[in-house]
Symmetry: C4
Subunit: 252 residues, 4 copies
Amino acid sequence: MDNIKIVFLEEPELKSPIMVEGLPGVGNVGKLAAEHLLEQVKATKFADIYSKFFPPQVLLDDDGVIRLVNNQLYYSKGSGDRPDIIFLTGDYQGLTPEGQYELSDYILQLSKKWKVKMIFTLGGYGIGKMIEKPRVLGAATDLDLVEEMKKKGVIFSKGEPGSGIVGASGLLLGLGKIEGIKAVCLMGETSGYFVDPKGAEAVLRVLASILNVEIDFSELETKAEQIDMITSKLKEIEQPPEPRREDLGYIG
Amino acid sequence: MDNIKIVFLEEPELKSPIMVEGLPGVGNVGKLAAEHLLEQVKATKFADIYSKFFPPQVLLDDDGVIRLVNNQLYYSKGSGDRPDIIFLTGDYQGLTPEGQYELSDYILQLSKKWKVKMIFTLGGYGIGKMIEKPRVLGAATDLDLVEEMKKKGVIFSKGEPGSGIVGASGLLLGLGKIEGIKAVCLMGETSGYFVDPKGAEAVLRVLASILNVEIDFSELETKAEQIDMITSKLKEIEQPPEPRREDLGYIG
Amino acid sequence: MDNIKIVFLEEPELKSPIMVEGLPGVGNVGKLAAEHLLEQVKATKFADIYSKFFPPQVLLDDDGVIRLVNNQLYYSKGSGDRPDIIFLTGDYQGLTPEGQYELSDYILQLSKKWKVKMIFTLGGYGIGKMIEKPRVLGAATDLDLVEEMKKKGVIFSKGEPGSGIVGASGLLLGLGKIEGIKAVCLMGETSGYFVDPKGAEAVLRVLASILNVEIDFSELETKAEQIDMITSKLKEIEQPPEPRREDLGYIG
Amino acid sequence: MDNIKIVFLEEPELKSPIMVEGLPGVGNVGKLAAEHLLEQVKATKFADIYSKFFPPQVLLDDDGVIRLVNNQLYYSKGSGDRPDIIFLTGDYQGLTPEGQYELSDYILQLSKKWKVKMIFTLGGYGIGKMIEKPRVLGAATDLDLVEEMKKKGVIFSKGEPGSGIVGASGLLLGLGKIEGIKAVCLMGETSGYFVDPKGAEAVLRVLASILNVEIDFSELETKAEQIDMITSKLKEIEQPPEPRREDLGYIG
């Protein structure tokens, strides 16, 4: 059995497309952002990628029909200033370091074949505490890209993230640089404790302006409010109202 | 050394056989069910499958003669409404995700060669509590099969199992669908805490009606009673009779 | 780099040799037994086996000269009733299931090339408590061998070991049986808590009689006494003299 | 994707170079020492080694430009008594035993091609307690080298390190010996609790004298003082001033 198997539903003709990657990760920020964007531009799925580097697992739809866990490729034709876009999203990242390398290399070989002009990888930057206004941090394959992104509001902050970027969002840049493919990673700040639509929105606001896409954020905002409600309830449970002094009398 | 090695005892000629898989898993429901069925139809073993994806282990028979852990293939010729059946059972599933994929792919390649018409994978659906009347949940490679199975009493319940199906029972469907092989997974509800003959019986009652097999369930029922006895004894130990109030006097 | 690499110091001509395997395992019984036997028959090392399935580690001799961890092959020419013998011992077994399979298969391919007549694998059978007179349990590739071994005092006890035999001592039998090589596993009972020369001696007394080898056991017996001394001291520490009743007065 | 990929910036012509390896390990002694030496001799990077045996991770420079984690090769031309030197350093060692073997074998194949005369591997010897004057212990591929190193002040101490040498610093010797490449491992004593510039300095003083290199140690010494300050502060926190007797009155 091949390590990785791609099944095409369609082979679209695209002109110097931009690739946008959003796979599961910290706060699921990248996946949420990529999926919201591909819904907004009404992108079309054109390929499924299966691999023995993913878990041996099938998922069920509402009717009871299964599908093997995978990564998925979507495309959206551009118009005016908006470029052709390929989206990479999916259920899982590779389970092992070797799997991570093989899968990212596979995507990059496809990208070269399809003359992908540039890759944006989306992810979360876990800071371990709740945050009201998440920043969007960046990393890039070269200094020109860094300068370009700064103009779009992306923050490049010395020493952040201190431990680098792990997983597909990092590898597509790292291996891409070796292969001569330009790539940028956009990371939305997130507590990392919950699925975080707020981090995804922050990332997407930056990306939308770069790609000249109009986005309706109401769905993400509704999700963010739901998460906010849950987390504030959890906070109440964790921090009960302070006991009156006399309640503690029997201790002291 | 090859990853997987098959040793044939016989190469039976079968007409569009049905394959029934039952390997170790949650509550051992699938293995119990498949093994009871193959005994009932007096199936004949025709191949042993060895693999370095299994543990490096031999088992001993009562005389002290060893055999390497493996998976096994049995066949039973049909008659009347009953189709030819191939059974896949064994000591272990693959130890790693890669092993799981390789082994399921191997079985599917054999299935294609043997023109297997359809695969039934059997398993348990762990619900974390004891259950009196286990339901049989289903999953299938396409919607027609779902409808067909519903008529046989299989329950397709939105969101169950929520995390999909892991292991051979899932992969044979997931990879099978890609290869164009029709397959259904039948899952008997089980606590998951014990080997569960009751869950196996539930699965088998459905499968027997689909395959037009007459089954004597008395052996499985005896096993179920034994397990029931053990578990109720365990419950007694865990929940000792409530102490009389005065026994606790020294606490309050 | 090859998975396994053999370096020959010599290529001895042997007549239908017997192979004796003793690698690290439960109570180190197998390795102790094989090494004591090869010293007693003054066997000669003729090959080193290196593998990336072993740990990435070198060991130092007393002078500070290193050697890569490995498995080793020794031979001893027979005379009279004593057959030619090949010994397999070493620092480690394969670290992963795959490594275990690959290494055992490698040894079996060599065995076939060298027309090895039979393999004895030596190991410990951990019973979780100290034992005065360890029995020697057996397992074999066929029933004739079982009968033959019973005559030599090997015990074949239904249900022991219940979980089969794991590692090289099991795999050489399991894979050997598939390859048509006769093999017996001899297991000396051991607590499994300590290196156990007593278990090794028990195994070796049986094997010596089978192979018609005269063995001086004094060295193993000295080691056994040392271990006995250590373990009885440990017991004293764990079980302090029972406190007199009044010492506990303040509890009750 | 290849397991290991090398990207050359330059292919220097070197005369029987010495290789010096210092990768991350106990107390980071080897990496600190190798990096300090290559800075002192103003070595030039000539190759990057990437591998799927490293973590799937990119690191960021101060500007936000990424690079894939890797190992790096530097060279320095000799003059007078000082030989040509190749340095091997990097972010990580291989994550798995197999990765360790493959990477060390890869380096050794390069070494043979480049006619490397001898390899020095640098590492730490963790002794689990703070140490004022770290010794430099040695291990070598043959006895002549041991004698030669003793004259340079390297200590060869029977039974140290008792568990041998694990990782690249060991494997380059172990595999090197099989390939006929002379190699020495120099281990600086270290607590193993902190990055340890003092251990690195000790190793480097020995190596500098062997390679006839003049080294300014002031930078390492400054780092060592900083670590000393941190560790003494930590000690204070862990060992608060002894409480006065009366403070404990309520216990006794």
